[in-house]
């Protein structure tokens, strides 16, 4: 069975249709990249997939493991295995990082019918995964994302992904705001999570992320439609020639 199947997806914000019919199929083990210019609908697609209020699907279907997610709230989708790494991770003043992470992990475990993890075991688990991503204890003690640098916020996103072990991970502009070293650390974190357990959709404006996280497939999104699909070489073509030529050809 396909992991994620998007069929003729149309979506609007308010009265404005942003996605005009998207078809995309992702299988376990595959990494797909969606590239596109600003305003092409990339972030809208990520929000529609994760179930944000205010993004209305007017036609089409989204199937996760063969089940429609359209009637599911954001939290239900997450517990079913969907994950969104935010372009702009949200600061939650007063919400302690550890209790936030544990609430999320336990919600997912409960859904899977597994036992919740106790506090001590959880701290061990977080520390081990955090270390690999260069997330130190000091960051873990703070309120969620509060006072984090841009790079720290992105690493924290990937830490959450590592803890939640989603089946379908959507990474929205994960490279934005990262310097070269941070980009490498984040990419290594993502690559460590690649494998048969999950599929990934990497949304990006620039090719540079894709030389670190090498995709199996690349799709060009423009004007709310996928206008071209190919392999990783398509990303290089964008890098060399820009989006204009591709959009004109389509």
């Amino acid at each position: 069975m396909n992991l994620l199947e998007i069929k003729n997806l149309k979506a609007k914000i308010g009265d404005k249709e942003i996605l005009h019919g998207i078809d995309l199929t992702i299988n376990r083990g595959e990494v797909h990249a969606i590239m596109g210019p600003n305003g092409s609908g990339k972030s809208t697609l990520s929000y529609v997939l994760s179930g944000r209020d205010g993004y209305e699907v007017t036609d089409g279907e989204i199937l996760l493991d063969g089940e429609s997610v359209l009637d599911m709230e954001a939290d239900e989708r997450a517990r079913a295995g969907m994950f969104l790494a935010f372009q702009y991770p949200v600061e939650l003043p007063g919400v302690g990082g550890m209790s936030f992470l544990r609430a999320a992990v336990n919600a997912r475990l409960r859904e899977k019918g597994e036992d919740e993890v106790d506090q001590l075991a959880f701290v061990k688990m977080v520390r081990a995964k955090a270390k690999a991503l260069g997330v130190d204890d000091e960051m873990l003690k703070r309120a969620v994302n509060v006072g984090f640098s841009g790079g720290e916020k992105k690493r924290y996103e990937i830490l959450q992904m590592a803890l939640l072990e989603p089946t379908m991970a959507v990474l929205d502009e994960t490279d934005s705001g990262l310097d070269v070293d941070a980009l490498r650390i984040v990419s290594e974190g993502v690559n460590a999570l690649r494998g048969e357990a999950r599929g990934m959709l990497v949304i990006t404006h620039y090719q540079r992320l894709l030389s670190h996280i090498v995709p199996d497939y690349v799709h060009i999104l423009a004007g709310g439609r996928i206008i071209k699909s190919g392999d990783k070489d398509l990303a290089l073509e964008v890098e060399n020639n820009g989006y204009a030529g591709l959009i004109d050809a389509a």
Partner: protein
């Protein structure tokens, strides 16, 4: 322990003390605060059940440091108090006069409870005493329909330190305590008040702090229960180099009305006051914060801060804020602010995108909102009392 003149068939002050009789006349003449009364503009009082209770039976002594009141009367003899704490009944006009002199003049809440007084007690903490066990004043309602009007006068001697917890619950009609806390020079007082009355009760409280130089006061009120709650606190900073924290939180559901009214009165130079107020209102609940910081002409180098924030969980909930600065000195640092808002959709979506249910996410965000206020309580055991009460409120469901 030390106890003087505490009888279980006390002199009924409201029928004998001249001050009480006078207050009762005042109350009868003035009636409820008029619609145009500025201090009561957001909190309108309907008819009050005025049926002050008589003293009940003496009960078994409580655990150390606990004073139990029923319908405004102390139930135990106070022989479980530390040696440096003295408990006395305020039975004559002299001590009552000293108590009443601290109250604002012609004040509705003052004449209400002086005029209908139930038990009246003086608790004295000896100078330089360091009380390690919190004194807990636990107020329970009496029989249905009875009103409670305890008068409590706490004198904390110079250099003494103590912790006070005031817990109000179980009243079905009216609970109207009047408390004066007189802090001597250099005294250090931690005070929390938890108002968790029954859902039909009215709680109308007047608390006055009279603070001498270099005293350090950390006071916090949590208004959680009652149908109508008014917590009016006046703090007189009567000496230099006082540190005064006077913070609060209020929670409301259904038709609850919570009113926090404070007057921070800087009479002398070089004092610091800080007020952090947080309110959470659901359903058709209403919250009021009225806070005045007054800085007298001589009170140079005053640092007076006040910040009130209310969180509305429902379209029908309402928060009114009236922060006021009245400053006559020219070399001060004062600020105030008041905000009213809703839960942030972005915050909720971020949490839900991690699989956290909407209810759990809301609960975490409400707790996060309240934490700024709760963190103002510096004494751990007292903070725990309030955290548990807030936790219980959350557990009752959104």
């Amino acid at each position: 322990m030390a106890m003087r003149g505490l009888s279980m068939q006390p002199n009924l002050l409201r029928e004998n003390a001249a001050l009480c009789l006078q207050a009762k006349q005042e109350f009868a003449a003035n009636g409820l605060p008029a619609a145009k009364n500025e201090a009561w503009i957001y909190t309108r009082l309907q008819a009050l059940t005025l049926n002050p209770a008589n003293a009940g039976e003496e009960a078994q002594a409580d655990e150390a440091g606990v004073l139990s009141f029923s319908a405004g009367w102390l139930q135990t003899g106070g022989d479980n108090l530390p040696a440096s704490v003295t408990l006395t009944e305020m039975g004559d006009d002299a001590i009552l006069g000293e108590f009443a002199a601290h109250l604002p003049e012609d004040h509705f809440l003052g004449s209400l409870s002086l005029g209908h007084a139930t038990g009246a007690y003086l608790i004295e903490i000896a100078a330089n005493a360091a009380i390690e066990t919190p004194l807990q004043l636990v107020f329970e309602g009496g029989e249905e329909g009875q009103s409670s009007h305890p008068l409590i006068f706490i004198k904390c001697g110079a250099g003494a330190s103590c912790q006070l917890a005031e817990i109000h619950s179980g009243t079905t009609s009216l609970s109207a305590p009047v408390m004066v806390i007189d802090a001597g020079a250099g005294a250090k007082i931690d005070h929390v008040k938890l108002q968790a009355e029954d859902s039909q009760a009215s709680h109308l409280a007047l608390t006055v702090f009279a603070v001498a130089q270099t005293a350090d006061i950390n006071s916090f009120t949590a208004a959680i229960g009652a149908k109508l709650g008014r917590h009016e606190t006046h703090a007189h900073l009567n000496g230099e180099h006082i540190e005064m924290a006077l913070s609060s939180l209020y929670l409301g559901r259904a038709e609850q009305h919570q009113d926090i009214t404070t007057r921070m009165l800087h009479h002398m130079p070089n004092c610091t006051s800080n007020q952090v107020i947080r309110g959470v209102l659901d359903d058709s609940a209403k919250g009021v914060f009225q806070g005045k910081v007054l800085v007298a002409r001589d009170a140079q180098k005053t640092d007076g801060q006040q910040m009130s924030r209310a969180l509305l969980l429902s379209r029908k909930a309402e928060a009114d804020a009236k922060p006021e600065l009245e400053i006559y000195a020219d070399d001060v640092v004062c600020s105030h602010g008041a905000t009213v808002g809703e839960l942030d959709e972005t915050h909720l979506f971020y949490m839900m995108s991690r699989g956290i249910s909407e209810d759990d996410a809301k609960n975490m965000l409400i707790q996060a909102f309240l934490i700024d206020a709760l963190e103002q309580v510096r004494h751990e055991a007292l903070a725990d009392i309030l955290s548990h009460a807030v936790h219980d409120w959350m557990a009752e469901g959104l």
